[in-house]
Amino acid sequence: MKNKLTFILILLIITSSCDEYLDIVPDQTQQIDLLFDREEAAYTALATCYTYLPENDGVYTSYVTMSDDVTTPIAKETDGIKIMKGQQSASSPKLSYWSGYNGQGSLWQGIRHCNILIENIHNVIDMTDEEKNSWAAEAKFLKAYYHFLLLTYYGPIPIVDENLPISATDQQVRVTRKPIDECFDYIVNTIDEAIIDLPIRVLNSNDLGRIDQVIAKSIKSRVLLYAASPLFNGNSEMYSDFVDENGQHYFNQSYDPLKWDLARDASLDAINASLESGINLYQFISAPPSFDSQNFQYEFIRKQYDVKYSIVDRWNSELIWGNSDPVTGNDWWQMQAGCMMKNPNSSSVEAAWQWIAPTLRSVELFYTKNGLPIDEDLTFDYSNRFNTTNVSSLQNLQAQYGNRTAILNLDREPRFYSSLAFDRGYNRTWGGFWNLRMRKGEIHGRIANSNDYLITGYALKKLVHPDSEGDGYSKIVTYSWPMIRFAEVYLNYAEALNESNGPSQEAYNVLNLIRDRAGVKSVEEAWGDSSIALTLNKHTNQDGFREIIHQERLIELSFEGHRYNDLRRWRFAEEYMNNPVYGWSVDQTSEEGYYTIMEVGNRSFNFPRDYFHPISINEITVNPNLIQNPGW
């Protein structure tokens, strides 16, 4: 009997400790509430809102290569180039802001994280209300910006102003796309709400890169400019059949000129806010490197420095919103590593990839020295531009005196020389001043049959910091990629002014600020001079001036990721992006051979399908309420 009791006792003891036996997770595991406990912890939540900002400074994540003005060898195609070649697909969309790509999360996740911060930031104990409101405003702006990015590439989108709970039913999670006007209104209103609580201008050196009013107002100017543009404004031609399940048009069907007034006013507001915060068009005021100290007497050279450093100088005075989180760690993933030429003196060439090459189209885009398009300048031998000629002593600031190069490469504006490198031209980098020789077998030409080569015979200098060197990752000089810079706001203003009111002196003046900084004649001087301008006084009518503003914008903002969007919103995309791109014959050693134009890749644009990206088939399947973009 005693045994029996002991046995039962043992059994009881063991069973009573059951629950504890199975509780094995220690306290203080990582839970989400801990994020909004203290300010220091809340930074994690804030960082997560920002982390979804697209990395346009990364080779494989950038939208810069999604264009017809640069290209790569076939072996090096980025997703951007592949899309340009017609390889976008609804099965697995490339560079998809919607579903995420190349390590970048879906922007919808970014929006969810912004909402989490907005909902919870008031729980933090050691922050003032003002700080909390300001942080919430940052998240609000980012939320609006992410919606705007989605809108730019997908057109009508669902609006996620508040997070759906995890327990949401299947029906609740099936959101619908909203008409673009509603989307634009939501974005603008949200930015306006954010502006109230944002700091006027972030100047604290620790906080550079965070959102402030100037940034918000400038982005708002871009948003309203897009809203007024032909793609989104009264686009009945392309999207009369694109309706939701109730038959409501996703795209408004009638053109509303007043939208340009909104864009104009927002741009002016952004300009004023910028100027009040000390933002201006950049001027290079430091001492030039010794090899250029002699040349600095020439405005032609000084202007090249102004233009060049307006991009690559960290936190320069023109930068309204710079990316404070550049692609680092793996520096060789930066856009500039893809563009950079290899230093022939360096044994190791790891960080210089030299395979992102400007196409002839971008070469032809830049103005002549007179500030006119090459086919509109009477002094420029346009028809023979692909022939070669001797570089005269007068042109020795542009190219190497006594050598021969293409006529196309001579007598161009300073921005041309600052942005592009060409055979028999110059490159100010690798700690010195280089005479470029880029034909096959020459010192800067294609090495053997390497896949790392400039397929067009041009190198892209604009995005490369002159002090970056191609012989080691650590020698890349990282800069803050311009998310938006002051020149764009001026260009937005000029465009909106012309569209709403037609040509005006105010619009000329704005454009001339850009042209003056770039070292070309004013609009009136260039187009009003019958000795140089083919179409005299083109700037005095609205259509002519529109062309001028467009080209100015394409030149000034070239290679910064605007071209693809601008061509689409003006509805020119099928005109530019549906034909081959060209370069020189870089595998030729002789002069005649090298200066033969060669097709270096195709561009395919399926009208009107490719105006917007496809939503992935999977997403459409999961959410049958989403209607796919036309053509996909």
């Binding site: 199975l22 839970q31 989400i32 070649k85 879906s106 919808w108 999670v173």
Partner: protein, 1033 residues
Amino acid sequence: MKYRISLFFCFLLISMFTNAQSVLVSGKVVDEGGVPLPGVTVLIERTNKGASTTFEGTYAIKALDKEQVLIFSYIGFQTQKVKIGDQTIIDVILQESLESLEEVQVVAFQKQKKNSVIGSINTISPSELKIPSSNLTNALAGKLAGMISYQRSGEPGQDNAEFFIRGVTSFGYANNPLILIDGLEVSTNDLARIEPDNIASFSIMKDATATALYGARGANGVILVTTKEGKKGKAKVSFRYENKFSSPSLTNDFLGAVDYMQLFNRATRSRDESAPLMYSISKIYGTLNGVDMNIYPNVDWYNELFKDFTLNRSANLNVTGGGDIAQYYLSVSHNNETGLLKVNPLNNFNNNININRSNLRANVNIDLTKSTKIAVKFYSLFERYNGPSVSANDIFSSVMQANPANFPKYYRYPDNLGFNHTLFGNKGNGGFPNPYADMVKGYKDRFTNTIFSQVQIEQDLDFITKGLKFRGMASVRTYAENQNTREYTPFYYGMAEVETEEGILNFLYQIQEGTEYLNNPSVNNYGNSNFYYELVTEYNRLFNEIHDIGGLLVFNFSESLNTIGGNSAFSTLPSRNMGISGRLAYNYKTKYFTEFNFGYNGSEKFAKDNRYGFFPSIGFGWIMSNEKWFSEKLPDVNLFKLKVTHGLVGNDGISSADDRFFYLSDVNLNNWDYSYTWGIDYSNSYAGYLIDRYSNTNVTWEVAKKTNYGLEIGLFNELTIQADYFTEHRTKIYMPRDFIPETMGLTTAISSNLGEVKSKGVDISLDYNKAFDSGLILSARANFTYATNKILVNGEPEYLYNYLSRVGHPVNQQWGLIAERLFIDQADINNSPEQFNGFSSSTNSYMPGDIKYTDVNQDGVVNELDMVPIGDPQVPEIVYGFGLSAVYKNFDFSMFMQGVGNTSFFINPQDISPFVNERNALSVIANNHWSINNPDPNAFWPRLSTYPISNNEQNSTWWLRDGDFLRLKSIEFGYTLPEANRGLFNGINSRLYFAGLNLLNFSKFDLWDPEMAGNGLGYPPQKVYNLGMQINF
């Protein structure tokens, strides 16, 4: 355990009948070795009177008259009948019964009389598991009704077969059965390494009644192995030695360099008529003439890398015996297994696989007192592995990646150019696969220890109430692994051409500087341990000869430490499980049976409210042949039994081992992939957070509702048929809800217990045994398993097209496009729907000779929305086997055929597409591909290409193959030497045998061994010739 009950019974009977008037008979019962047998039942025929032998083997019984017959029966021995006659002292020698184990059946936590088992359990004799392989799992296919099994790889040490009981019945994380060796849960590897010689019984448990007691862990079925225990008597020694020749069952056939280069050039021009050719005429002719192997290599990579066969050895020695107090079973064995890899003569290390395993097993039973017994089990396995630094399976696959014409495995120069390293071949700037260099550049040295120890105490509690017993058991298993990988960096050289005044010259240049020494080893240490405790109370009693009552109550708990690996918060915490299980069994007159079982289990994985699961089951059985009317009408039917069971079983292995504690969210608050940086010099950085799992307190057990209908028939005492029909409804399968759109912005899927699968099937086994008067003993055995299932609920979106849905299809169903044929010409392409929009305008464009697919939904585009269920499931639905064995005089012979059916697989075109990245080409592609000259729209391979053609690489019926096969799994001839009965060899009994494994194969698929399915380029399953010898004394 049951015999102890009957023993007790005898005592009872004796006390009841001692007062009758009678003849007194007494004697002693011993075994063949003269050892007294205690507890032997002595029964007077046709009466209820009986006695039992004492500890000394003696008995005494009173019989009514001399005509009566005494029946001596004892578990494990043949029953003997002796007529009393005039004898008053009857001494009996009982012969050991070979079929003793047939009489009791191992069931969950105890043994039952075989005829009273109503759960669905299959047991096979351990000798069935003896095949010439050092991996027990390779022997399972086709041997046990109810088991689906197949083996995908033949790499020594990595050749475990996949096995499922009654098929794959869930798409949750764990589908594999629970494996118990001597009651302790172990891994598949532990099962693989157990020596068949040491196995006492091997069973699989299939239905709810058989597995419900394992509650939480039994849903996928249970494999139960018990090891041999000692037997009283003088020491018996058994020794076995085997020599095995092992070679690949089937090898792939590749093109020689000349054919390769010609076809490569044709492939280049096939897609672009103006493309420059890779291989010049002079190179091709140079190779054809075999001028200089350095400049014109012609490499058969397979032969450069692998031997034709390898030799494996194994030896096993076991001793059993014991006295009254203690009995022992001891076994030591050693086996040596080697791979097919060649070794570089320049290295002084061995990069071939060479595995040495030694194991020791000691099972000791001690009878402490008459009512208290202790059993101690100890097992250790020491394994020493030597092998290549990279996976041998990858080396096999890399033959496909190498190029026969570009460079030799290494350049052969006199004196090796004076260098102390091998001049490994490569090309251009390097980076081309040289599998030989990968194979010989280093080696891996690993040792692993597995130690298992167990102690069990058993106490008769007859002093409390008759038939009550208690036992407690504690087991520990530990595993440790220590691995060092040593490699040097190979030096690669290339051959370049230069034009000089004397013509074209070739010179060797260095592509990559290597190391002439082995770099520092990369070390990998790992260990884990399991603890298991169980307390069992058992009660068995037969009342009035007709009411047989059995009860069982088990309390168990277990803990596993670091079984998972990894360093996340969750994976490093222990896993625990605890539960109470019970059984209540009743039978009436061994005719009508009923049984109730339950398991009540808790798992650490779930929230408090959902932590415990209750899994009951109930069963009924009827042995019709025990009815009088039946045996009178059908005397030839010695057994006819019907049974039906129904119940629930759980599964807590619903997600990967580091994905546990579903009631907690898994948030990484310090994730630098989600970081952001502010500040003038980009230094004000903060990590971001990432939600890896959203908390869900409702997550709980996966539950299987199982029903089994069984039939057992015995005919003429020769043929036994066991057939079961089963259904299973698996619910609460934990799975992601795939219908949450991106717009929710979640960083991970939300999962919950929502999946459901319904399965059904039959398993049948036939056994035939007959001894002919001529001395021929014949036995035959056949098994058949068919298990199919379909998904009832799946966390999937509402598809626009029904055929995309997995609902209604088997768990392992495959989806793909319907390939019609190859495109005939451009007009054909133009008139067909566009395939995968986007490809058409890119470099991946398809051409005549590429695969044309059906636009199933007729939306004008072929894409993933046109994928329909095609073929049979990847996991075979049918597994069967049949065999025959015969013994005649000193000769014996056996063979076993095994096959699978209802399965298909895809050839992966990405793996074998020739010329892509200058890789090798299979001869079959050279012989049968589409070309302008051979515009066969049904050619094996589409238009050749030197780069991947996405259009052709889609999963489609084009690449689908029937995976059915039937093979001669094993065959064995043996000769038993006549027993010597004098001198040194007195009592020695020995047998020589030859055995073969996988010698013949019948299948529609002949590219590689069909059992490998889609992994055809890996280490192939082996064909083995085995010479063995067994000595007993």
